[in-house]
């Protein structure tokens, strides 16, 4: 099926994921976007590495802080590198992403919750082996 279908105008209020909204002629604008993304990502990375190694931060909050930074950095990648934003023409891509995130969340959180409960109710291995003899 060709790009120009039989006389029917193409709907172009929609953008390909990864594609940039501008007409693509402005390299300088493009580079700027990637540089900002790189800068923010580097910042988030450095802070993550620092926090995990330091004793300056309250220890129990470290995992939460790391997760927040990771999510922020993933967001930076999604916006600045993948060009997936909440503009109306990018909404299909956002909805797909949201659904994907939902599934990931259900699978990971669900599995950890289920397995934690299963393990908790499980006879400890040593005791189980004792019962075999």
């Amino acid at each position: 099926m060709s790009d120009g279908e039989t006389g029917v105008p193409l709907y172009d209020g929609d953008i390909a994921p990864g594609d940039e909204p501008a007409s693509g002629a402005e390299i300088a604008v493009g580079i700027r976007g990637y540089l900002i993304g790189l800068g923010l990502a580097v910042l988030a990375t450095i802070v993550s590495f620092y926090i995990s190694g330091t004793t300056l931060v309250w220890q129990p909050s470290i995992p939460a802080a790391l997760i927040v930074l990771a999510i922020a950095q993933m967001g930076v990648h999604i916006v600045f590198f993948l060009h997936i934003t909440t503009r109306p023409d990018s909404m299909n891509n956002v909805m797909a992403l949201t659904f994907g995130v939902f599934v990931v969340f259900v699978l990971i959180v669900g599995s950890v919750w289920i397995m934690f409960h299963l393990n908790h109710n499980m006879i400890p291995m040593e005791r189980l082996m004792q019962m075999q003899h």
């Binding site: 099926m1 039989t6 029917v8 990864g18 693509g24 990637y34 790189l38 990375t45 699978l107």
Partner: protein
């Protein structure tokens, strides 16, 4: 009424004037959108696959079977260098994308080569890490924790390897056929792939390495 047996029908062709672009009216999307959206859906399915590996790691990360744990094994400076390589490669991949759109050979080839070198550096460091671990008896068959670690990080490494093959193929295609429309679509798909791998790496270095040592 014999409608049930003698039937008929017709289609009103889109011949005449089609008043178009009403809000919500759709038509066949362009090939670029179709290819990129399809690839995006594939990438999301890949992310779901990775999340199964992540879930397995989360469940098994404490099952060290008397063997070494993450804290004993992980070398954070290596991880930092690997992270830097991958992040820089995402940037250079972006440059390559811009170069392809603008048909600028230097930007495209330069960006792709930089991405390839940084990606290869990442893989070499990771491979060295793995072989060291296996040599010191901390291979994937030592414990469930190590199985989960090698599987998750190894799966990512395999994807990076396939990404490099994808990259080399895209360089070869542009060299052989120029910036043809279908090749540009594939370059867009490659960029999507490469950036998504970096997103997964953010998850890995946070959950596996940083949380592994910050106990």
């Amino acid at each position: 009424m014999s409608i049930a047996t003698t039937d008929f029908g017709f289609v009103r062709g889109a011949a005449a004037v089609v008043p178009f672009a009403e809000h919500g009216e759709r038509s066949v999307a362009s090939k670029l959108i179709i290819a990129a959206f399809g690839f995006w859906v594939f990438l999301l399915s890949d992310v779901v696959m990775f999340s199964a590996f992540f879930a397995t790691y989360a469940v098994l990360k404490d099952m060290t079977a008397g063997g070494p744990s993450g804290k004993d094994l992980f070398n954070i400076s290596t991880v930092a260098i690997e992270t830097g390589c991958l992040l820089a490669s995402s940037f250079s991949c972006g440059m390559a994308s811009l170069g392809a759109r603008a048909r600028a050979d230097f930007m495209y080839y330069g960006g792709m080569i930089a991405t390839a070198l940084l990606g290869a550096a990442f893989l070499l460091l990771e491979l060295r890490d793995f072989t060291t671990l296996i040599a010191q008896g901390a291979g994937p068959s030592r414990s469930a924790f190590l199985s989960a670690y090698f599987a998750l990080v190894g799966c990512h490494g395999l994807h990076v390897t396939m990404g490099l093959l994808f990259l080399l193929t895209m360089m070869a295609q542009v060299y052989a056929k120029g910036y043809r429309a279908d090749i540009l679509r594939r370059i867009l798909c490659f960029a999507l792939f490469w950036h998504t791998l970096d997103i997964i790496w953010v998850g890995i270095f946070t959950v596996v390495y940083l949380m592994g040592v910050a106990r």
